[in-house]
């Protein structure tokens, strides 16, 4: 372990304490990643019968063809052998082939994941752009009309179904006013409505979180000191208080990534936007197991990696974490 640390330190040029922290986090992440792979493997094992008999509904096959297919897919092997083979294939970047059109799943996911990540990130930007200022206003005006209004708006925002908001936006901005394209595929203009529809609920969550953390921070001694030494209120809030309030927010944004990614699946369907969501939905309807398996696994792995990055960022920003 010491040697690994030294090599890692040499490669990254990071101080020892940070490298240790990174390795520690990585060591915790690897079993989770392995767990995700094993779970996705076993989900398909839950199918009544097996994948081949489930395909029977879509493609007519003779008993002999079915047996042949089972042999090709390795379904006749014992479970642990199947899992072993699956892991080896995964290590080579092979996620299997689609049961329809027999394209490699990795290729299908590769072609679609970019659009979904783009939508997720855009929605997160929308959420922060709306949620952060609203939360700050609510906290600064704590207990007054603005606070009540911001809290109410956040409560409504978190309760509105994103797909319905998307539909209503299409109705207003695309059908009635004609300002924006009706489908979500044409560049930046096509990204606006999907990103807003997906981001609003998230903005509401960020508003609530910012409000409560900031109210707490604004009551601390160092903020009182900052005020006592005569700093203007804007500097106290934005420079002193918000900086500390942002830390828990960072963790929450990482944790919300999964929700947003899942929400993107639905929003892509609303706007007929190409992406992992439309790919997965089509695959579910076709009962194309390898594709669904691949999409679900990649989404979970992405979630874990995003949270790893957030944790590391957290440690970079807040020394208490890496020394703790």
């Amino acid at each position: 372990m010491d040697q690994t640390c030294q090599v890692a330190r040499h490669l990254t040029g990071l101080p020892k304490i940070m490298t240790n922290y990174l390795l520690q986090r990585l060591a915790l992440t690897l079993p989770i990643l392995l767990g995700i792979v094993i779970v996705t493997f076993f989900i398909v094992q839950l199918i009544p019968g097996d994948a081949v008999s489930a395909m029977q509904g879509q493609v007519k096959m003779s008993a002999q063809q079915m047996e042949q297919m089972r042999e090709t897919l390795g379904l006749n092997d014992p479970l642990h052998v199947q899992l072993g083979k699956y892991l080896v294939r995964l290590a080579q970047g092979d996620l299997g082939r689609s049961l329809f059109g027999s394209q490699p799943v990795a290729l299908l996911i590769g072609a679609n994941i970019g659009a979904t990540i783009q939508l997720t990130v855009a929605a997160m930007i929308v959420a922060i752009a709306i949620g952060l200022p609203l939360g700050v206003v609510a906290a600064v005006q704590h207990g007054r009309a603005w606070d009540v209004a911001a809290t109410a708006v956040a409560m409504i925002g978190v309760s509105i179904p994103s797909f319905w908001l998307g539909l209503m936006m299409i109705q207003l901005f695309a059908v009635t006013l004609g300002w924006l394209p009706i489908t979500g595929d044409r560049g930046i203009r096509g990204l606006i409505m999907p990103a807003v529809a997906l981001g609003v609920a998230e903005a509401a969550i960020i508003t609530r979180m910012t409000r409560s953390t900031l109210i707490e921070v604004l009551g601390t001694d160092y903020v009182r000191t900052a005020r006592a030494k005569g700093l203007i209120e804007r500097a106290v809030v934005w420079k002193h208080a918000l900086r500390n309030a942002l830390l828990p927010l960072l963790t929450m944004i990482g944790m919300q990534f999964g929700t947003l990614f899942g929400g993107a699946v639905i929003i892509e369907n609303v706007f007929s936007r190409q992406g992992l969501g439309t790919l997965a939905t089509q695959a579910v309807i076709n009962r194309d197991f390898p594709v669904v398996q691949g999409c679900v696994m990649i989404a979970a792995i992405l979630y874990v990696l995003v949270n790893l990055v957030v944790d590391v960022l957290y440690a970079v920003v807040d020394p208490r974490i890496r020394y703790g």
């Binding site: 767990g35 059908v175 899942g262």
Partner: protein, 297 residues
């Protein structure tokens, strides 16, 4: 004689007790407006879902082609869809599906989560390690995608998406119950119960479980809101109950198809979802302020 006195006392005491209780309830409702508003909204939604025939004579699934795509009017307050079905009737009858989809998975998830959380938190060591590592993997799957995977295996339908949503919620309950149990395990009263020689089961059920109730109720109220949203989303993309079932997500999917021609098909079920979810969220918020102010976010 004695009996008569006792009786008259009971008769006198009871109304006073009830009044006092009512006064307490009224005070709680006044002190926590979000609890009151949330409970009121939910009560209306539950009532209309249970007795839709009080509000409309129309059949939610019967087609009536001559009246198709009618905008909202006195005859059809919410308009009609592409088959001439009354949207008001569909929305009213649809409430049942959403309420079932919101409550059943949450109750099941809470049940499983309580069990796992109690075991992990109380017995600790290997059980805790094992259960919590499994939960770490479990939460990594976004709810919607986990549901997609489960629906692929089980096929679309109301029951199957309820299973999917229920499974997806388990780790959140497990983590919450475990954290409460961890906090309680070393308290004096639990240690006293152990010293007195009470069995683990008695300590768990009689001394620890009741303390998890407040956070459980709060989490479940918000969980119902989340489950209704997830359920509607999944039926919207065609994985839940199938047409012509008057489920809100299904009606919204019709609305998407005819968005250029008839905005009302998609508008009203969306408002119904938003209202129900708002009710459950407000109720959860109010319950949290009332039962467990420490949890306030």
């Amino acid at each position: 004689m004695t009996r008569a006195v006792q009786q008259s006392q009971t008769i006198e005491v009871r109304p006073a007790g009830v009044t006092a209780r009512w006064a307490a309830v009224r005070q709680i409702l006044r002190k926590h407006p979000s609890l009151t508003i949330g409970a009121a909204i939910l009560a209306v939604m539950v009532f209309t879902a249970l007795f839709p025939s009080l509000f409309t004579d129309a059949n939610p699934v019967m087609m009536n082609i001559p009246d198709r795509m009618q905008p909202p009017s006195m005859a059809f307050p919410f308009g009609t869809d592409q088959y001439g079905r009354d949207i008001l009737a569909r929305v009213l009858y649809g409430g049942r599906y959403s309420l079932i989809m919101g409550t059943v998975p949450i109750v099941v998830a809470a049940g499983i989560g309580i069990g796992l959380g109690l075991v992990a938190g109380y017995f600790g060591s290997l059980a805790d390690l094992l259960i919590m590592r499994i939960m770490d993997v479990w939460v990594a799957f976004p709810i919607i995608l986990l549901a997609l995977a489960i629906v692929t295996v089980l096929g679309p339908g109301l029951i199957n998406i309820m299973v999917a949503i229920g499974i997806a919620w388990v780790p959140y309950y497990t983590r919450m119950v475990r954290s409460v149990v961890l906090g309680l395990r070393t308290t004096t009263y639990v240690e006293a119960a152990q010293v007195l020689g009470f069995g683990d089961r008695r300590i768990l059920y009689r001394h620890i479980l009741p303390n998890t109730l407040a956070p459980l109720i709060v989490m479940s109220s918000m969980g119902i809101a989340g489950a209704i949203l997830t359920g509607a989303s999944l039926s919207f993309i065609g994985l839940g109950p199938q047409a012509p079932t008057p489920e809100w997500g299904v009606i919204l999917a019709d609305g998407r198809q005819f968005i250029r021609l008839a905005w009302w098909i998609g508008f009203f079920p969306g408002v119904a979802i938003a209202l129900t979810v708002l009710g459950a969220n407000l109720l959860g918020d109010g319950l949290r302020d009332w039962l467990d102010p420490r949890m306030k976010v």
